[in-house]
């Protein structure tokens, strides 16, 4: 007789569809059906089916849930759960795309999101479940309901309605803070997603919808062939033009086409968006135009799938110099960092290439900030002095905390004019009353 499975045979929800359940959600629901917390379930699982050569820190595992990408821990956890439940969980992670896409910027970590419409549709007997789609980092919208995904950290309940830490449920689609199923604690309407966000989410959903056997037939080589064909058909074979027009670095596109490194999913979607290419065909090694792309109706443009700390600036040197000089004469001159951000430049561009103009701007900004700090100091002294007088009138003790509370002006370390003002007012008060620090009166 075969040995009984460790856990109940819970099937993966949405198996073999674009709405497949994520491994995290599967573990959470499995724990719920066993009347356990995910931590307890994983603890029990790993005692019976230990991971190989991995010292799994369950606390970290549950904190980050970095199990949906290509990490070994995710693959091992999946296989252990399959053994413990007898259910197939192949669709619960992105592991099938290993060797096809780069692992960077693939999945979210420590920032769970959900579709505010999907979680309310699962009402009734069934509790909502988390989709693998929501775990993909570049997905910002729900392709079904066309709304923006929402952070699961937000709770709309009053502080007194929130649950104590040991009673909080851990289940996708349920508010962890107040336990509201379907996040009904948040009354505000879901935000509509942009066409670009919906396009990206739809393409990822199509990728997840692909049969596992078909994905297994694809390889890095077939994707490289597809990319080469795309560059050839849309950009006349120019990697430079492809990268510039799609808003990607030349090095990235070149190394993908040359087969030196694997393409990241966000970057791949970005170039597909610009070229109106079908990403599902591309991994098969074929370039095919996607008729349903929203970009078809508008001229090719950039899509910010890949997050950047700065935008590419199209300014030339003369323009930058003029802008620096103009900024130095403004009523409130910006810092060099603020100036660089304002014009989409790296801060080193004005600092290293326009040394004189940058120095003038920095001096103007320093002079301006000096005035700002002085004004803040005067305002704070005025507020703290009034607070001391009010405290004395009420017969209350005067100290740093009571002064800040009375005045409503908080002196925190980053706001040094206020800190200086508070020390000044307190010293003056102690001098006048003969009080030592700590509230003791000086000896006569």
């Amino acid at each position: 007789m075969a040995k009984r499975t460790l856990f109940y045979p819970q099937p993966l929800l949405g198996q073999d569809t674009g709405d497949a359940q994520s491994l995290r959600s599967y573990i959470e629901r499995l724990a719920l059906s066993h009347n356990m917390k995910p931590r307890g379930l994983l603890d029990t699982l790993l005692k019976e089916h230990p991971l190989e050569d991995l010292s799994a820190d369950l606390h970290q595992l549950q904190k980050r849930w970095a199990v949906h990408g290509f990490a070994e821990v995710g693959a091992q956890l999946q296989s252990r759960l399959e053994a413990a439940t007898g259910s197939s969980l192949a669709g619960a992670t992105l592991m099938r795309y290993k060797g096809l896409f780069a692992s960077v910027n693939l999945t979210r970590a420590n920032d769970p999101v959900y579709c505010p419409c999907c979680v309310t549709e699962s009402e009734g007997a069934e509790l909502p479940y988390g989709r693998l789609l929501w775990e993909v980092q570049c997905v910002e919208a729900c392709p079904v309901h066309r709304v923006k995904l929402r952070s699961a950290k937000l709770c709309g309940a009053q502080p007194e309605e929130r649950l104590p830490a040991n009673q909080r449920p851990s289940l996708s689609g349920v508010c962890i803070q107040c336990g509201s199923v379907g996040f009904k604690c948040l009354a505000k309407e879901p935000l509509p997603a942009t066409g670009d966000e919906i396009w990206v989410a739809s393409q990822v959903r199509r990728l997840l919808d692909l049969p596992i056997e078909r994905v297994a037939r694809c390889s890095a080589e077939s994707l490289r062939t597809g990319l080469t064909e795309l560059v050839k058909c849309v950009y006349g074979g120019s990697v430079v033009r492809a990268s510039q027009q799609a808003g990607l670095s030349r090095a990235s596109v070149y190394t993908w086409v040359a087969g030196e490194i694997l393409a990241g999913l966000p970057g791949l979607l970005q170039i597909c968006f610009h070229a109106k290419a079908d990403v599902c065909a591309l991994i098969d090694g074929v370039y095919r135009s996607l008729d349903s792309s929203p970009a078809e109706k508008s001229p090719p443009r950039r899509l910010q799938v890949v997050e950047r700390t700065y935008n590419r600036s199209e300014l030339n040197d003369d323009q930058i110099r003029e802008l620096l000089e103009a900024a130095a004469t403004e009523a409130e001159p910006p810092s060099l960092m603020q100036f660089a951000r304002r014009h989409g430049l790296n801060v080193d561009v004005p600092r290293q290439r326009f040394v004189r103009e940058a120095a003038v701007l920095a001096a103007a900004n320093a002079q301006h900030m000096q005035l700002v700090y002085e004004r803040r100091y005067v305002e704070a002294v005025h507020a703290y002095t009034a607070a001391v007088q009010a405290l004395l009138r009420q017969g209350l003790s005067v100290h740093a905390k009571s002064i800040q509370k009375q005045s409503g002006v908080v002196a925190f370390s980053q706001n040094h004019p206020r800190v200086r003002a508070l020390q000044e007012v307190l010293s003056k008060h102690r001098l006048e009353t003969g009080e030592e620090k700590g509230g003791r009166l000086k000896a006569a």
């Binding site: 109940y8 059906s33 009347n35 356990m36 007898g86 040991n166 009673q167 509201s180």
Partner: protein, 366 residues
């Protein structure tokens, strides 16, 4: 007196000092004797009364039957424990293919409602036994959840409460697709709580998980059912009948049973019990369990007498008259109590039913 023709395995007592210390009750017996006595102890005779009950019971345990609670009663020593063992073996064989096909299924559980003298914790003990049978993982890490007004909250401390344990058991029975739960010594459930509470609990367990409950115990089990119409609707009572001295067929059957037991007699010198089968039937009140106890005691005395049979052993092994009367009175009261409530005892008497059958066979259809 007859003698077994099998080869006598006489073993010389060993003088080996390294041999493990023997238990006092086997002192003076050869290992062959002990083995034979154990074999006799484990002998199970599948007799017609048991077979009839099993035939009635099996259809009620099928998934399509609406009987959720089935009570098997019987006189003390009638063979209920043997019946339970035979039934479990039979059900296990029935479910073997199902268990082979799906390793997550636990279609059958069997627990004993033991009484430990503490009323408050008895249900907890029963639930914990059920969880053990369900191979429930992480029982020390349970944190039951409650869903109230659309809000889910974890109640970690409720894993120690009866309600929390019940929810865990319900989930286990449902998810493991348990079809039959057997509770032996179920009359002890009466000590856990009021009759209505016990039956409501079992009814709810059955409704939420789809498990059929088979309660095996004394005639007191009848009290559990009788005051609850809701439960009675989906319950049936079966009685393991004893053999009666005034029924010729019963006497013949009893003789057969004695013959089978005699064939397994642990000593080479086998007393002729078949010749006195009627007397043994009377002494054991027609209960196979009591008969077996009597014969076991007599065989033990014979073994301790170096295998030499002495008719006095039989006299000693038989229950004293006073004790036998206590048992007889209890059995008669119990049988009177359940007689009209038994499975198959419908509103029609034999004459009325014959008329009904005749009408069914002779009337034209449509």
């Amino acid at each position: 007196m007859t003698s077994n023709t099998s080869a006598a395995h006489q073993e010389a007592p060993t003088s080996d000092t390294t041999a493990p210390k023997r238990k006092p009750w086997v002192e003076g017996l050869t290992s062959h004797m002990v083995e034979k006595q154990l074999e006799f102890y484990n002998t199970r005779v599948k007799h017609p009364a048991m077979q009839k009950l099993l035939d009635d019971l099996m259809p009620l345990l099928m998934p399509h039957s609406e009987s959720n609670i089935i009570v098997v009663t019987g006189a003390t020593g009638a063979g209920k424990s043997t019946l339970t063992r035979v039934l479990l073996k039979s059900l296990f064989e029935d479910f073997a293919q199902l268990m082979q096909d799906d390793p997550s299924v636990i279609p059958l559980i069997s627990v004993e409602a033991y009484a430990n003298g503490d009323t408050r914790h008895s249900f907890k003990g029963l639930y914990k036994s059920m969880l053990d049978q369900l191979v429930e993982p992480g029982t020390d890490q349970k944190a039951p959840v409650s869903l109230v007004d659309g809000k889910l909250s974890v109640q970690p401390s409720s894993k120690h409460s009866i309600d929390g344990l019940r929810r865990i058991v319900e989930a286990g029975l449902r998810e493991r697709r348990t079809r039959v739960g057997v509770i032996d010594e179920a009359a002890h459930l009466l000590r856990f709580a009021k009759e209505s509470v016990v039956m409501d609990t079992l009814k709810s367990l059955s409704n939420t998980s789809g498990t059929k409950w088979l309660l095996v115990g004394s005639f007191d089990l009848f009290d559990l059912l009788i005051d609850n119409g809701q439960v009675v609707r989906r319950a049936n009572i079966l009685n393991l009948e004893r053999y009666r001295i005034d029924v010729a067929r019963d006497r013949r059957t009893f003789e057969d049973i004695i013959s089978k037991l005699q064939a397994k007699w642990p000593s080479d010198e086998v007393p002729n019990f078949v010749a006195i089968s009627d007397a043994l039937l009377e002494a054991s009140l027609g209960c196979i369990g009591l008969l077996k106890s009597l014969l076991l005691d007599a065989s033990a005395m014979q073994l301790r007498n170096k295998g030499q049979w002495n008719p006095e052993f039989l006299k000693k092994a038989a229950k004293s008259n006073r004790l036998r009367d206590v048992i007889r009175r209890e059995i008669e009261v119990g049988e009177d109590k359940v007689r009209d409530a038994l499975y198959g005892n419908s509103i029609w008497d034999d004459a009325t039913f014959s008329k009904l059958v005749h009408k069914m066979e002779t009337s034209k259809r449509g």
